[in-house]
């Protein structure tokens, strides 16, 4: 955490990924993200957004190409280096990734595992300082009073906020969010995005967030990158972006209206229209 951040937090070039028995999930993707940028990845389901994100913290190894994140060569990194990198990269999942039977606090505490050695069974095996920090992070997402509630008794929006608090335990320098509000209703979505955005601004984080609500992405990000069939088809700053260019991302190979109208439908439900 002491070393100075390189100017470019993420540097991806010529990244391709082919899953066994699958099509080409990523096709020569190149992407450079400078420090402090808020980037939104858009595209249809199956366009490769989630796959690209999972390459950035080494959850998936690439077929070819290079990935450099926070100055670490992710492809060449050994297990130890990869762990060190993951500790600095926050990841927010669409399906939250909480252990339902554990309390909110314990789920948040697990975000500190990268800083600790050895396994932890139960809240009391974490040092008190970390427990306080976890509680503070729960306060930041507005759930301090729910610390000892079982995670599976919280609403979807609350669970995602717990997941964000867990990410804060990492004190991340880069935040990756994979469809953070896709499984939430509009009101919870707004709340989650509000919390996320506030934290990102306050902590001056670099963010890459996949979204399929276009309006949400437009209101939130500084830069939009569109993927279609594993290829980058759009890469522009939000201020000189026209609707047609965005909609082109959602064009299917076979002519059909469903995808486009789906994206528009989603956009009308979001309150954060600029």
């Amino acid at each position: 955490m002491t070393q100075p951040l390189p100017d470019n937090v993420v540097q991806v070039s010529g990244l391709s990924k082919k899953f066994p028995n699958g099509p080409l999930a990523l096709d020569h993707v190149s992407l450079t993200v400078p420090k402090g940028q808020l980037l939104s990845l858009i595209g249809l389901s199956g366009s490769g957004k989630s796959t690209l994100l999972r390459h950035l913290n080494g959850l998936i190894p690439p077929t070819t190409g290079s990935v450099e994140v926070l100055g670490t060569d992710v492809v060449a990194a050994g297990r130890r280096e990869l762990r060190a990198l993951r500790r600095d990269v926050g990841f927010v999942f669409q399906s939250f990734g909480l252990v339902g039977r554990l309390t909110a606090l314990e789920n948040v505490l697990s975000g500190a595992l990268g800083r600790l050695h050895g396994p932890r069974f139960g809240t009391l095996m974490y040092p008190k300082a970390l427990r306080r920090e976890a509680l503070e992070n729960l306060d930041r997402v507005g759930l301090g009073d729910r610390a000892f509630q079982r995670a599976d008794t919280l609403s979807g929006g609350q669970q995602q906020r717990v997941a964000i608090a867990r990410t804060l335990m990492q004190r991340p320098r880069l935040l990756l969010a994979d469809e953070p509000v896709a499984s939430l209703d509009p009101e919870s979505s707004a709340q989650v995005m509000d919390v996320l955005f506030r934290i990102v601004v306050e902590d001056q984080l670099t963010v890459i967030c996949t979204l399929h609500q276009v309006e949400l992405a437009l209101g939130w990000a500084q830069r939009i990158v569109g993927l279609r069939d594993g290829q980058v088809v759009l890469d522009r700053a939000v201020d000189n972006l026209d609707q047609d260019a965005v909609m082109d991302v959602y064009r299917r190979v076979e002519p059909g209206q469903s995808a486009m109208s789906g994206a528009l439908m989603a956009s009308t439900t979001t309150p954060r229209v600029a």
């Binding site: 060190a84 050895g118 396994p119 932890r120 955005f197 506030r198």
Partner: protein
């Protein structure tokens, strides 16, 4: 670019609240709710009970080590196994198989009406429901070996008492699972059928039974599997099957011959498990809840049988042309497969009766004798052996507790190593699964007989055998539960930079915990039942008094023993059911 401040509407969330260090500590204390307190008490009681039990049966670590030395010694004398009367062993092996088939058939025929009477939605009257449930609970609480030992006294040595014992004891599980399946059916089709004017029983046969059928089939196959394990030890009390041959070999100190018989038993049971899992997978498709936990995934058997299941669209009965004159369903796909399987089962039952030269009429002929011996158990007589009954029961409970505890110690790590998604590597996974198959292929009572031959009489070898057997099936249940946990929290934990050990502790163990505890309680239930019969082979506990009383035909004392066993087994079952409900 939009200035971020515009977007920062004040929802009150996400801003840094300066936290008060004094109150923070209070807030970090978790309140002890009633349920959490109860769980702690249960845990303390369980650990205390295990410590008491450990002392009571005089188990010790030095004794354990010495015991393993003895077993190793005996294994040395058993190896290599000899198969001098292999023909005999194979003949008796088949007899064992046919006994299991007949016993299961009897159980299914008896269980069906009992289940209809016991299910809340089909019972004709609350009183009938109470009686049917009573029968189910009673027959499950008395182990089949005890039934067999009693019936051998009533109708003489042979296959007949064995199959009746299997049939009666199986009602406990088959009847209960049938009744559960009937209760879980969707009630709307039944309402629809009733609304067109169908009678109650018409509605049940057309809407309830078809819905419950897949579950029935799964239960029957599962029970057949279990009954084969049981029938291979019934010979120990003279109720037919291969167990008799092993006992005889051990008595005459022909250890290598005995191991040969064990090998035959092992092959028989393993093949049966393989087949019943494959048949279940074929008949019931991909439904894992019905196919059961022991179903093989991607197994050779499933692939072999998949040829006959043919669930592809082209074989779908619905799209096949049919004769519009007769309006008969076309003879393809599912229908053909199910008919073939059905006929195969009927053929199997006929072969079974012929092979053991048992006339179904004889079964009914034996009923008066069985009834007479059952009536002679009453009124139970505690006067002659009260204290030894109580001591024996306490010893059985202690053995079950220690065996469950030791089995758990072995099976939790083993279960994690045998779970595909957690195992360190493929080699460890393969080795652990192989070990589980090996352990599960030998019935616990056979292991007990071998341990007793090696170590000597008493509760310690019996408990060790029980612990060994427990570790086999408990580890399998745990492995299967671990394989089914949700992978997303695991990915999230890896994403924060956790090591594999940390990840297992933080996301796998908590997710698997309800399954581990619930299976542990299940193991305790089963071990308690098994420990009541260990005494029959000299493994300590209440079974010894029971067997002695039977030998001298003090049937009223036998009645007293049975009632004691029933009371204890049933109350532990209720207790563990309550704990399970609290956890889940």
């Amino acid at each position: 670019m939009k200035p971020p401040e515009v977007l920062l509407k004040s929802s009150g969330l996400g801003s840094r609240i300066p936290s008060d260090p004094v109150h923070a500590d209070d807030r970090l204390k978790r309140k002890l709710t009633g349920d959490r307190l109860v769980m702690r008490v249960v845990m303390v009681v369980f650990v205390g009970a295990v410590i008491w039990a450990w002392r009571h049966i005089e188990m010790s670590f030095s004794g354990l080590i010495a015991g393993f030395g003895d077993v190793q010694n005996l294994l040395g004398r058993m190896l290599p196994p000899r198969f001098s009367d292999l023909d005999d062993a194979i003949r008796l092996g088949f007899e064992t198989l046919w006994m299991a088939v007949i016993g299961t058939t009897i159980a299914v025929i008896l269980s069906f009406p009992i289940a209809l009477g016991a299910a809340r939605n089909t019972t004709p009257h609350p009183a009938v429901m109470a009686i049917c449930r009573g029968i189910i609970v009673l027959s499950r609480a008395v182990p089949d070996l005890i039934f067999a030992a009693i019936f051998v006294r009533a109708i003489g040595i042979g296959v007949l008492p064995g199959v009746i014992a299997l049939g009666l004891h199986s009602i406990g599980m088959v009847g209960k699972l049938f009744a559960d399946a009937i209760e879980q059916t969707d009630k709307t089709p039944r309402e629809a059928v009733t609304s067109v004017g169908a009678s109650k029983w018409q509605a049940i046969t057309t809407s309830v039974i078809p819905q419950a059928m897949p579950s029935f089939i799964s239960t029957i196959l599962y029970r057949l599997d279990i009954n084969l394990r049981s029938s291979s030890v019934l010979g120990i009390v003279g109720a037919g099957g291969i167990g008799f041959l092993m006992q005889a070999n051990l008595r005459s100190l022909q250890y290598d011959e005995a191991l040969g018989v064990v090998a035959v038993i092992f092959v028989l049971i393993t093949i049966m498990e393989f087949f019943s899992a494959a048949v279940r997978a074929t008949l019931l498709g991909g439904d894992r809840t019905l196919v059961g936990r022991s179903a093989p995934r991607l197994s050779l058997g499933a692939k072999l049988f998949a040829r006959f299941s043919s669930r592809s669209k082209s074989n779908d009965v619905g799209v096949r042309p049919f004769n519009h004159e007769t309006v008969r369903p076309p003879w393809v796909g599912d229908l053909r497969m199910k008919t073939i399987y059905g006929m195969a089962f009927v053929a199997l039952i006929i072969i079974a009766f012929r092979s053991v030269s048992l006339n179904p009429g004889e079964l009914f002929g034996a009923l008066p004798d069985v009834w007479r011996v059952i009536t002679r158990l009453f009124p139970p007589d505690y006067t002659t052996a009260r204290s030894s009954i109580i001591d024996g029961m306490i010893e059985s409970v202690a053995a079950a507790l220690v065996a469950t505890f030791m089995g758990a110690l072995l099976s939790v790590p083993l279960g994690f190593m045998a779970a595909r998604n957690v195992a360190f590597n493929r080699f460890v996974y393969g080795l652990s699964r192989l070990f589980l198959v090996l352990v599960r292929g030998i019935p616990e009572l056979i292991i007990a007989v071998i341990f007793i031959a090696a170590i000597g009489l008493g509760p310690v070898p019996g408990t060790l055998a029980l612990a060994f057997g427990t570790s086999g099936f408990l580890a399998k249940l745990i492995a299967d539960a671990v394989e089914e946990i949700n992978p997303t929290p695991r990915e999230a934990t890896f994403a924060v930079g956790a090591t594999k050990t940390q990840e297992i502790a933080t996301s796998v163990v908590p997710q698997a915990m309800p399954a581990i505890i619930s299976n542990l309680l299940y193991a305790l239930d089963i071990n308690l039942r098994t420990s009541t019969i260990l005494g029959i082979v000299g493994g300590g506990g209440i079974g010894f008094i029971l067997f002695n009383a039977l030998r001298v035909l003090e049937l009223q004392t036998v009645g007293a023993v049975l009632i004691t066993i029933f009371g204890v087994v049933y109350s532990i079952e209720l207790l563990s059911g309550w704990v399970r409900k609290k956890i889940l």
